[in-house]
């Protein structure tokens, strides 16, 4: 993985010092809460219902075992022994004290980490494919361009006070595992005929209360043109994005109101005159970063696949759902589910973090990834080590074999923690997880995505799920609206609202009926939920849920 040089290191240390100074000025009353708010947000510090919440950046989801151990230490020392993996491949802690946060940032800087721009109206942590560098279907490793963009966006003086938050995602594979079309700007990295990296740029995607699938802005942008283009795209947004209404302030609304063509014309005019000197070294820097990733990649001698014929069924079941194809034969990408039956999606204890770090040292060259579905990936596992890894995981309660299944639920923290939430997400996720785990054991449900958001801001990505659940507050009561047919892959689509909402107690029953309907109507076990839905439409589901009751 990428290792900091002296420049990167002194940058995060100076930033931690700067934040210490800002906290001191806030505590001394020099900064008002209104002035301090964007500053603390740009260091990942939210004021939640009960306490502050600190979100730590895990750029493109990549983490070393040493870093994970430090996160475990922070969970035990400054939180109540937990951390929570987020849908931006980050981790957040729910109970730190304001006065402790500068110390936490110092701890993070000590392991080449930071919390810069993990919230606030600025460029957020760049997310990417959790299989980057090892996926069997990859055109080009998306990490070097993601790291280049991380550096470009860090404390960018022009884009720290945008109309609203700004999210980038990058992928470099045939299957989009980074949901790039649900981002403000999504980048699909490819290679041209000469083998040079080129980038398809999508703009205007997003979720929240106005979900939109991003549109293609330009295809095959060469590397030297990409950074000036992104600068220009952001500049036009910063100048013209709406600031009168925060719900209309994302770039998706600007692109819609101006029209894609007009937005593109404005950007083209801007980029034509842009000062290129700052980007003169972009190619050299990209090459340096690429080399750094290659140096950090272990040598992998191709081997034989393992024979699961006589294997323990629990182990072979885990391999079937949780192991993905690796680019090197005889090696495996192991996905670790952080979605135990009846558990809280994405929650890990300090103890589990240390156990995962130890396992990563033994079985994955000390490297791991966090996924936007709130799970963990070991990218460098020898196929012959899978059994020992599985046993090690099962021993610490991380052996769940449900990756990609309906019980692999994405959920936001909801009303249990979040100041914006209108309904609880966690108890709904826990109940559904228990019900769905039982069904998965009996029926062959296959891969289904089910996501839950506790309010219209859609942090739980419900729009992008095959089955989405949105918690609202209707007449002082929690009401859960169901959407169907969303997907976040390369055929991204926004789910349709099924009908009137449900009381919390009725959600598992409704979801169960939706699944029954899918099982009845699918042409084979190979037909995935969104394909069945696209073929048969909403009506049969509606009938099963509302009429068949």
């Amino acid at each position: 993985m990428y290792q900091y040089d002296d420049h990167d290191q002194s940058f995060v240390e100076a930033r931690a010092d700067e934040f210490r100074n800002q906290v001191e000025r806030r505590l001394a009353g020099q900064l008002s809460e209104d002035e301090f708010k964007p500053l603390r947000l740009q260091n990942g510090l939210y004021l939640q219902l009960h306490a502050y919440m600190l979100r730590v950046a895990i750029p493109y989801g990549e983490l070393s075992s040493a870093q994970l151990r430090k996160l475990g230490y922070i969970a035990d020392t400054y939180d109540k022994g937990y951390g929570h993996f987020t849908t931006r491949q980050n981790i957040q802690f729910n109970w730190p004290k304001l006065v402790d946060t500068p110390d936490i940032l110092d701890h993070l800087a000590g392991v080449q980490m930071h919390a810069i721009q993990t919230s606030g109206n600025c460029i957020r942590n760049v997310t990417s494919d959790p299989f980057a560098g090892v996926a069997a279907d990859e055109f080009i490793d998306p990490r070097p361009i993601s790291e280049l963009m991380r550096q470009w966006s860090m404390l960018h003086p022009e884009f720290a006070f945008l109309p609203r938050k700004f999210k980038f995602a990058v992928t470099g594979a045939a299957d989009d595992r980074a949901a790039i079309k649900f981002h403000d700007i999504g980048i699909w990295a490819k290679v041209d005929d000469a083998g040079a990296p080129v980038f398809d740029v999508y703009v205007g995607g997003g979720q929240g209360r106005t979900p939109r699938v991003a549109k293609l802005f330009e295809s095959a942008v060469p590397l030297p043109e990409l950074m000036p283009l992104l600068d220009a795209m952001l500049r036009v947004y910063n100048l013209h994005g709406r600031r009168d209404n925060k719900y209309k302030a994302r770039i998706k609304i600007l692109v819609e109101e101006l029209g894609l063509e007009n937005y593109r014309d404005e950007v083209k005019a801007e980029v034509a005159g842009i000062d290129r000197a700052p980007f003169a070294t972009v190619e050299a820097e990209y090459a340096r970063i690429k080399d750094a990733f290659e140096e950090g990649t272990p040598g992998m001698t191709p081997g034989e696949p393992i024979d699961l014929g006589a294997a323990d069924p629990a182990f072979s079941g885990w391999v079937k759902t949780n192991v993905a194809a690796h680019r090197v034969p005889g090696w495996a990408i192991a996905q670790i589910s952080v979605k135990p039956k009846g558990g809280i999606p994405g929650d890990v204890t300090g103890e589990q973090m240390r156990a995962l770090a130890d396992l990563a040292d033994t079985f994955s060259q000390g490297e791991l990834r966090i996924t936007h579905r709130q799970n963990v990936v070991f990218p460098y596992v020898k196929a012959t080590d899978l059994l020992a890894l599985y046993q090690g995981l099962a021993a610490v309660g991380l052996g769940e074999d449900n990756i990609g299944e309906a019980s692999d639920i994405i959920a936001c923290p909801g009303l249990d923690y979040c100041a914006l939430a209108t309904a609880r997400s966690i108890p709904v996720a826990q109940e559904l997880s228990s019900m769905l785990r039982d069904r998965e054991a009996k029926d062959e449900l296959g891969s289904i995505s089910l996501n839950i958001s506790g309010c219209i801001n859609a942090c739980g990505h419900h729009h992008a799920a095959n089955i989405g659940i949105l918690g609202l507050n209707k007449a002082e009561k929690e009401s859960y609206q169901i959407t169907l047919g969303g997907r976040s892959d390369e055929n991204a689509a926004v789910g349709d609202i099924l009908g009137p909402g449900f009381a919390q107690a009725d959600v598992p029953g409704a979801v169960s009926k939706i699944i029954d309907t899918y099982l009845d109507l699918r042409t084979s076990t190979q037909e995935r939920f969104p394909d069945t839905y696209a073929r048969v439409g909403k009506e049969p589901f509606k009938e099963a849920v509302y009429v068949g009751a």
Binding site: D17, A160, F161, L239, P278
Partner: protein, 273 residues
């Protein structure tokens, strides 16, 4: 009214606030300016920040600076916070005009420190700030700048740092020289004709200074020392600091040196031959 200038290096109070909205005054949210708007307004534009949350002014300044070049004065006014001063200068603002209220609430220290507590280099070059990408790839050495007091503090902490006094022998003799153990005197210009010393680099090498030695270059008020540091940089020296206020410092209002700033005025140790 207070004025913050030169990347935050200058900060002063002005009794007269008539200059606070100089030239063409626009709200940061308005669309960009055309040639016509500048033609009548004396090449100066003041951008008002309605709130510290509204960052349009940064992009606006970037555009104006690019379109109008270095000659145009771009002034930020309104509701900025100290932490945004760095961003403002990096985006091309030349001045920030602040109300007395903003300065007294945040404190003068916070405004003075605004551009120094943050990371001093960004990855991508923006404005005059140095860039990490350039440092990585242009292999260029940056000449640091410190006041005599800061330089003396550094020198005392460092075991290797050398103070290189490049004034003339006459200045050493008649004005005095720093009393610091690891100091070397090598003239950049020779007395009395102020012609350049052709043996400067050789003499530096002969004095035992290597390309890795941290060298703090000092002259009367920071000008000759910078030229000397640039010559050293070109010769491959890597760790160079210009002592910006020199031994005697700048002239004060009555035209006298040695009072306003500089090694002597900072009461650092010195003696005379």
């Amino acid at each position: 009214m207070w004025v913050l200038k030169e990347q935050g290096a200058r900060f002063e109070h002005r009794a007269d606030s008539s200059d606070s909205a100089a030239g063409l005054t626009v709200d940061a949210g308005e669309p960009c300016l055309d040639e016509q708007s500048f033609a009548n307004e004396g090449n100066c534009v003041t951008l008002n920040f309605p709130s510290s949350h509204d960052g349009r002014g940064f992009s606006f300044a970037k555009r104006v600076r690019r379109e109008r070049g270095e000659g145009v004065r771009i002034i930020a006014t309104g509701n900025l916070i100290p932490d945004q001063a760095r961003m403002a200068f990096q985006c091309g603002f030349s001045e920030i005009h602040l109300s007395d209220e903003l300065v007294s609430r945040h404190g003068e220290t916070a405004w003075r420190a605004a551009t120094t507590v943050a990371p001093d280099a960004l990855y991508t070059k923006s404005g005059k700030a140095p860039s990490i990408w350039d440092a990585r790839h242009q292999h260029s050495v940056k000449i640091k700048s410190l006041t005599s007091a800061e330089a003396f503090e550094d020198l005392q902490r460092s075991a290797k740092g050398v103070l290189l006094d490049v004034r003339t022998s006459a200045e050493w003799q008649f004005v005095g020289r720093p009393a610091f153990e690891r100091s070397v005197g090598i003239q950049w210009q020779t007395f009395p004709y102020a012609s350049q010393n052709p043996n400067f680099l050789d003499e530096v090498a002969d004095a035992g200074l290597t390309q890795e030695t941290p060298i703090y270059v000092l002259c009367r008020s920071g000008v000759r020392s910078l030229a000397a540091a640039q010559a050293l940089k070109a010769a491959g020296y890597k760790d160079l600091t210009n002592v910006s206020d020199g031994f005697e410092g700048a002239k004060n209002a009555s035209g006298r040196r040695g009072i306003l700033n500089g090694w002597k005025a900072a009461h650092l140790p010195w003696n005379q031959d």
